[in-house]
Amino acid sequence: MANLLNLLISGLATGAIYALVAIGFTLLWQTSQTINFAQGEFVMMPAFFILAALHAGVPFWLSIIFGVLISLLLLGLVFKKALVDPMLKHGVLPIAIATMALSIGMKESVKEFFTAEAEPFPSLIPAGNVNIFGVEVSLQSIGVLVLAIVAVTALNLLLNRTSVGHQMQAAAQNPTVARIIGVPVERMILYTFLINAGLVALASVLITPIYLAKFSSGEVLGLAAFIAAIVGGFNQVRGAIVGGLLLGVIDNLGAAYISTQYRGAIPLFLLIVVILFRPQGLLGRAEERTV
């Protein structure tokens, strides 16, 4: 029982990070039909921005602020202006291919110009355990979960309780009409790119202390977030949350109770089942799209 609770909490913690990354996926898709195959690398990069600052002797907290700002700039603004905007005119597929190229470019750049080795990364959250109902649970997992919940709650408040949030939703749901009533659609799309950059930077800070900073660490994470988004429903923020958490928990429980060897296969199995029986995802709505 104690083991199960531990597995659940660490599963939820991993799942919460998947959810952060998956939410970014769905936001980009909803507002600009961008499928970002470099999303995993978007999580890998901020850690290296921060490490670069740390190696230059900048204090930890300042390095994090620096890393987040650089992420907003490069993974948000520059990504949109330099890659998505010019490619979007040509359709969804060219963007998908361009982001795949970007993902390779990012990995190889880190390997070439930084390091090919796994680098340790300091944690925001102190090590140790807390006692919950008589069970020792890692403070790391609790901390990750709490920070992710805070971020998602803040995002939800922004999207649902503020005028800017409503405008962002309007721009995603019906851009033509949004423009007609005076919503600055382009700016709203930029905001979603900045939010995505913020989410991946947070995910990076939370996950890198656990899995170390390595040029290839985005591969697994990007795939997990992609699966989470599809399982939950690609066009719903809450779908991404549910998909992420579900995947994290199933991943952890599966590894413990079924087989560690098939750990990588279990999410794919889940993906196949969902695509077969509910292709729009658990919480998604079917989209009509002419191909």
């Binding site: 005028s163 409503h166 405008q167 749901q173 009409v177 423009r179 007609i180 009533i181 005076g182």
Partner: protein, 245 residues
């Protein structure tokens, strides 16, 4: 003409290489309801898009309230007092009805301070919308959605309302209700420029009519005279006005 609020001068434009507007020109009188009629492909919706800056004209200009507004952004046009209600469903299905309406004030930014009161007044006028204010807009019926679009468009007190096919998909009763709203607007001094497939009913509540054909203005006259013109009857009103009938 001092009582002209909108003037289209020799508009030429279209989509890609296809020219739809072929020198369209007409003027719209302030405080009146004017209906644009014409066969499919005459350029009715296209001229509305051109007026609202959604279609770049190759030639010609648009004058609104004495100013040349050719090439203005939607936001600028809204601020100048124009409002456009396009054909079909123009709601944000997953936002609540109230939030949909509130978005109508976006273009004004913070310059309007009595927005909550305005929204309350609008909801008072349309009890069906008030009853569903917190529900997703996708739960509204077709007629209620049109009402929502009109309410949203009126939030900033526009001088000119461009409304494209307001009756499409509505029951006859709802068409009458929608037309009643347009008449209310006219009573308040708002100018309405409307496109209607349902040309006869639309002209009956209109002051003026404009007949477009192949992207050119064929006729601009009072609605009564257009309704009485046998040629128009045959061409655009389904032959209902032929002398024999």
């Amino acid at each position: 003409m001092s009582d002209t609020i909108l003037e289209i001068e020799n508009a030429v434009g279209g989509y890609g290489k296809m020219t739809i507007l072929n020198g369209t020109s007409f003027a719209v009188r302030q405080g009146a309801i004017t209906t644009v009629i014409g066969p499919n492909g005459a350029g009715k919706s296209t001229v509305f898009k051109a007026i609202f800056g959604l279609l770049k004209l190759r030639e010609g200009r648009i004058l609104f309230a004495g100013r040349d507004v050719t090439g203005w952004s939607q936001r600028q046009l809204i601020e100048a007092g124009m409002c456009y209600v396009p054909q079909g469903r123009n709601i944000f299905p997953e936002l609540s009805v109230r939030h949909n309406i509130e978005l109508g004030a976006v273009a004004a930014g913070r310059s309007i301070t009595d927005m909550p009161a305005r929204i309350e007044r609008a909801l008072d006028r349309f009890p069906a919308l008030r009853a569903k204010a917190t529900r997703q807009a996708s739960t509204l019926s077709g007629g209620e959605q049109k009402q929502l679009e009109i309410v949203r468009g009126l939030l900033l007190d526009p001088k000119l309302v461009l409304i494209d096919e307001p009756s499409i998909g509505l029951s006859p009763l709802l068409v009458q209700e929608t037309f009643a709203i347009l008449k209310e607007l006219r009573a308040k001094g708002v100018t309405v420029l409307m496109i209607e497939q349902n040309a006869r009913s639309a002209l009956e509540i209109s002051d003026y009519g404009i007949v477009l054909e192949l992207g050119q203005t064929r006729m601009v006259d009072t609605a009564a005279r257009i309704l009485a013109d046998p040629r128009i009857g045959q061409l655009f009103l389904g032959g209902a006005l032929e002398p024999a009938s």
